[in-house]
Symmetry: C2
């Protein structure tokens, strides 16, 4: 795998289970068990997902008796946000073009109706 931080972060986010875990952690700390509850996959699979998230710094794990409470650390998402933000003008542009296109289409439609 590509080892630069941004690539690793994107890769970590490319799995819906991991994004769901982050979503859950947005609501506060949770144990591994709690995190696994919504999914039908095994505990080791969850552990692996958590390792991926931990490796890119999106979560950290504490210790409390036999539990390893996880908590969100969203800071790596700043870089993602910054990267994607550099393209904002492009999708706004495309949207504008699409919007203009649709408006034009509508105008033509009206014109067509009138002619009928």
């Amino acid at each position: 795998m590509t080892s630069d931080a941004l690539s690793l972060t994107f890769a970590a986010l490319a799995d819906p289970t991991r994004r769901a875990i982050l979503g859950r952690l947005a609501g506060g700390e949770a144990s591994v068990k709690e995190l696994s509850r919504p999914f039908k996959i095994s505990a080791p699979a969850i552990t692996k997902h958590l390792k991926v998230l931990q490796r890119v710094g999106l979560i950290s794990q504490g210790r409390n008796a036999q539990w390893r409470p996880c908590r969100l650390d969203a800071r790596p998402l700043r870089d993602v946000s910054k990267w994607v933000g550099d393209y904002r003008r492009f999708w706004e542009e495309s949207f504008d073009r699409l919007d203009a296109y649709l408006t034009e289409l509508q105008r033509k439609e009206k014109h067509h109706e009138r002619k009928k």
Copy 2:
């Protein structure tokens, strides 16, 4: 692979070569040859990267003689931006906490100096 659109988009962005291609296309249309120039990988490898980008709708390819000019379509990035935006408050929060921590640390440092 996970087949929901957002996962596929994140996965497409998880490769630095593909992100560089998007970066190049931000400067305007380019042929496959032109896109491949900065990299030391083979033409088929570039073709594969382009297919990945095309599959998630980040680029589209036209035809002009033997060239297939590629152009950026950033609209899928809106969803990425929206997703990551939902976490903004968390990284701003973490940053604040770090900031508060550093301020506190500095305060303690000063106190320590004074005592010496």
